[in-house]
């Protein structure tokens, strides 16, 4: 097992390099150089074409864009090895500082919405497998699929409009993650303030996954329930509760574990929209703005970090498999 984990971790390095190489190539080949864009910010003035060209060259040199692409990639990789992601083109701050500033709130949002998602979807999935075909089951399923199909930005706007003060109900704050001046509040007041601020973003980040995840839970539960050992358990006279929660649940959870790995990066993508709408300065918003302003170092760093998180997520879900299902063993595979 240890050997397997070590092998998997070592494999991460070439995979990451591959991902970063592709990203590097794509952002550099995409039209629009940051140096040109910088000049184009101010088209007005009295510059002739020559002056503009000269200024663009100066800016390229400043950003290190005058070197050939393979040299730049090699420099980037060297920096990466020491966790030096370079400095942002936009404000010349070290990229790592900007990311460390933005990462915590995004992590909090994602982890909380994951928890909310699993806490709601799995129990419902299990319950609905037991009442499969009933009116309630069908109604909720339709409801969930309607939710699933609603675009996040629209739901977010609706929630803000109806629950965020102004014209209708004034229940939740609509921007940021804490009130101005909340630093000096007592702990519980601050916690409550955070709860209110994060509620709507969390709802928006989680509702879409509900349908998907509860469907998964329902289907895999139904599958397990119809297997022989459950029938045996039933025949032995065990209560329905014991059968579902003790015997069926563990096996039906297997597919859901793999989902953790795939849902995590997709939540990460979702936080781009949510953070932008709710003005939460997390990684999603940082990445979105970096892409828009051709801030290559920031884009590179964020892609690499989210690639790393995805890879680690996959690794963890593979390992969880072993924990959940004793029939799976990596040692055997190696033999």
């Amino acid at each position: 097992m240890k050997q397997y984990i070590a092998k998997r971790i070592l494999l991460l390095i070439p995979t990451l390099l591959g991902i970063s190489l592709i990203t590097f190539a794509i952002i550099n080949m995409a039209p629009g150089s940051p140096a040109n864009a910088r000049i184009a910010q101010i088209f007005a003035g009295e510059a002739s074409g020559e002056v503009t060209a000269e200024l663009i060259e100066q800016t390229k040199k400043l950003y290190g864009l005058d070197k050939p692409i393979h040299v730049r990639y090699w420099e980037w990789v060297k920096g990466m090895a020491t966790f030096d992601f370079g400095e942002s083109f936009k404000d010349h701050r070290p990229v790592i500082d900007k990311i460390l500033e933005a990462l915590p709130i995004t992590m909090i949002l994602n982890i909380l919405s994951m928890i909310a998602l699993y806490l709601l979807a799995i129990p419902w999935g299990i319950y609905s497998s037991r009442i499969a075909g009933s009116k309630l089951d069908r109604a909720v399923t339709v409801g969930l699929f309607v939710l699933y199909s609603l675009p996040t930005f629209w739901v977010a706007t609706m929630l803000i409009l109806f629950l965020g003060g102004g014209e209708f109900l004034d229940v939740f704050p609509t921007y940021g993650y804490e009130t101005y001046g909340a630093e000096s509040w007592p702990f519980f007041a601050r916690l409550w303030d955070w709860t209110l601020h994060l509620f709507l973003p969390l709802v928006c980040m989680s509702y879409g996954g509900l349908a998907l995840l509860s469907r998964y839970a329902r289907v895999s539960m139904l599958e397990v329930i119809h297997q022989d050992y459950i029938r045996t358990a039933r025949a032995k006279g065990l209560s329905e509760k014991v059968i579902t929660l003790k015997h069926a649940l563990r096996n039906s959870l297997l597919p859901l574990i793999t989902l953790v790995a795939s849902i995590f990066p997709s939540l990460f993508g979702g936080s781009v929209i949510i953070e932008t709408i709710f003005s939460i300065s997390g990684l999603g918003k940082l990445g979105f703005e970096a892409i828009r302003s051709n801030d290559y170092p920031v884009v590179m760093a964020i892609t690499t970090i989210s690639a790393l998180l995805t890879l680690v997520g996959i690794l963890i879900s593979d390992l969880l498999y072993v924990v959940a299902d004793p029939r799976i063993s990596f040692e055997e595979r190696e033999a």
Partner: protein, 564 residues
């Protein structure tokens, strides 16, 4: 089973809700915008005495500024904040539009208009208490010109300065290599940074003072919480009482989404809000809104246009370009896209200033005249396929539009239909801003929709002089060449007699009007809501078009007397 009817009902509710917020793509009923216009205020007169507490002003930023260093940052949010922190040698009065003393108390101009000597105030102190001197001015200029400094967009303005030197601690001299009518305002307009803070061995581009600015202005920087707020407070030691603001504190909240910003304003968490036409007409017309806020519509100092690349055979002939303008239903677009909150323009000069040529009458929508002009230029439907053609080639072109700009996309769609009716096939090509710049800068496009901002002192050189017509990266995107215009532009830049300059620029506008290198579109109105406890609000043709030094809250109506 759930019946089909239930499914349909659900689907319908979803669609109906989507329709009620996304707003009408096909435009509002005609009455709404006119009524909405009537609500707009031009100004709010002063009322009583300012409150002794001074109150706070809470505003929002749509995007956080990258830094607060006015030399390396050239972003709108940065200047919104820095206009109160950093100062220049001179400033323009929004009321008279004349230049007034700021850090320089007086100045001398040489006979040949090449040398400007600025006499600096001796009583100015930086926010950290250190005295302001000529060294700071020279240091700031040197940094702008330093190729290692990320200030290329700003450097453009100072290329022609041959020397900027210190004479003594309180006198500096700026010399131009060749005469230029804006030399004085360029020399005097430099943002002055404190040398003693920046020149401490730290790298200028990433200097920590970019996030903790120390200036000389009426407001002092006090706090920046990344992604949340930037806070300024009144500078109690400010040297000039009449430049002091009534507000004790200014708070800028970073709120990226425009509907959230409006919501925050309605909640009372903001004192000002920028509105888009749809919000203006539909989301701010309630009685409750009117009880708390005043709505203002004022002229924005920018216009948008369609640029016709004259290097393309379709657009060589000015009659074709004129015809294309006749086919642009500007009045209809103003109503449908801008809810009438826009002004049709036909000249690249700021209206309501001396330079503007009032005699020009914008071409209206006139398909018959357009067809006649196109026929004159040799375009006809010779093969009977419904599309105009000339020399065997159909009239077809591509219109570049910045993706994500609703306004431009709507205008392009309306225009496409008009053109199709006249037998011209226009293909709309949406490109992301970064990608958009490439073909535009290399002049490899047919037509594009863009906007320029306008300044009170126009200088047509960059956009219209033929020297830029064949140079890649120049702003003469459309390849405009006209000998008479060139002569006027050159003379204009070196003439120091305003009346003569006005006459030249008026003639220049006639040429542009006749040549139609652009189809000029609109100056859209800027729309704003301001909390109604704030009074003495007036609008000017400057940027920004209002003067926050005038705004105040009458006695007894202050809202933030201490930290909330």
């Amino acid at each position: 089973m759930i019946s089909r009817a239930t499914y349909l009902a659900l689907a319908f509710v979803t669609l109906a809700c989507a329709a009620c917020t996304r707003g009408p793509a096909q435009g509002p009923k005609e009455k709404a915008p006119l009524d909405a216009m009537a609500e707009a205020l031009e100004s709010v007169p002063p009322e009583g005495e300012p409150d002794a507490h001074g109150d706070w002003l809470v505003r929002s930023l749509g995007a956080e500024p990258p830094t607060l260093n006015p030399i390396t940052s050239s972003d709108a949010s940065e200047s919104t904040i820095n206009q109160f922190i950093y100062e220049s040698l001179i400033q323009r009065s929004p009321k008279t539009l004349e230049f007034e003393p700021a850090l320089a108390e007086s100045w001398d101009e040489s006979e040949d208009h090449l040398t400007y000597v600025f006499h600096l105030r001796k009583d100015v102190r930086w926010h950290d208490g250190k005295p302001f001197t000529a060294d700071d001015v020279i240091y700031s200029f040197e940094r702008i010109m330093d190729p290692e400094v990320d200030a290329a967009p700003l450097r453009v303005y100072y290329q022609d300065i041959s020397e900027f030197v210190k004479i003594d601690d309180y006198t500096v001299r700026c010399t131009y290599g060749k005469p230029y009518f804006m030399a004085f305002q360029n020399c005097g307009g430099i943002s002055v940074l404190p040398k003693h803070v920046f020149d401490n061995g730290e790298d200028f581009n990433s200097h920590s003072a970019a996030r903790h600015p120390i200036g000389t202005g009426p407001m002092k920087f006090s706090k920046w919480e990344t992604g949340k707020i930037i806070e300024l407070e009144q500078n109690p030691d400010y040297y000039d009482e009449k430049n002091t603001l009534f507000f004790k504190k200014m708070l800028f909240k970073v709120i990226t989404d425009s509907s959230v910003t409006l919501q925050a304003f309605k909640e009372g968490a903001l004192d000002t809000v920028g509105l888009n036409p749809e919000q203006w007409v539909r989301q701010t017309s309630s009685k409750r809104f009117a009880r708390n806020a005043n709505k203002f519509a004022f002229n924005q100092t920018a216009y948008n246009y369609v640029g016709w690349n004259a290097r393309r055979p379709q657009f060589e002939d000015k009659r074709v370009r004129q015809a294309l303008t006749f086919l642009m239903p500007r009045k209809e677009i103003a109503l449908k896209v801008y809810y009438n909150l826009a002004r049709v323009v036909c000249s690249p000069v700021l209206p309501d200033t001396d330079y503007y040529n009032e005699k020009l009458e914008c071409r209206g929508y006139d398909p018959a005249r357009a067809r006649a002009l196109l026929a004159e230029a040799g375009w006809s439907d010779s093969d009977g396929d419904g599309w105009l053609d000339k020399d065997g080639k159909p009239f077809r072109f591509e219109m570049l539009v910045v993706a994500g700009s609703n306004t431009y996309e709507q205008i392009a769609t309306i225009y496409k239909e008009e053109l199709a009716r006249a037998g011209i096939d226009m293909v709309i090509r949406r490109l992301d801003w970064g990608a958009f710049l490439q073909p535009v800068q290399s002049h490899e496009f047919d037509a594009c929709m863009l906007g320029w901002s306008l300044s009170i002192d126009p200088d047509p050189y960059q956009l219209w002089h033929s020297s830029g017509a064949d140079k890649e990266g120049s702003s003469n995107l459309v390849g405009f060449k006209n000998a008479e215009a060139d002569k006027l532009i050159e003379d204009f830049r070196v003439n120091f007699d305003k009346d003569a300059r006005v006459a030249m620029l008026k003639r220049f506008q006639e040429i542009i009007y006749d040549e139609q290198p652009y189809t000029f579109l609109f100056m859209s109105k800027a729309l704003m809501g301001v909390h109604n406890r704030i009074v003495n609000i007036h609008f000017y043709p400057t940027r920004p078009p209002y003067d926050l030094r005038e705004w105040f809250v009458p006695a007894g109506r202050a809202r933030y007397t201490e930290a909330p």
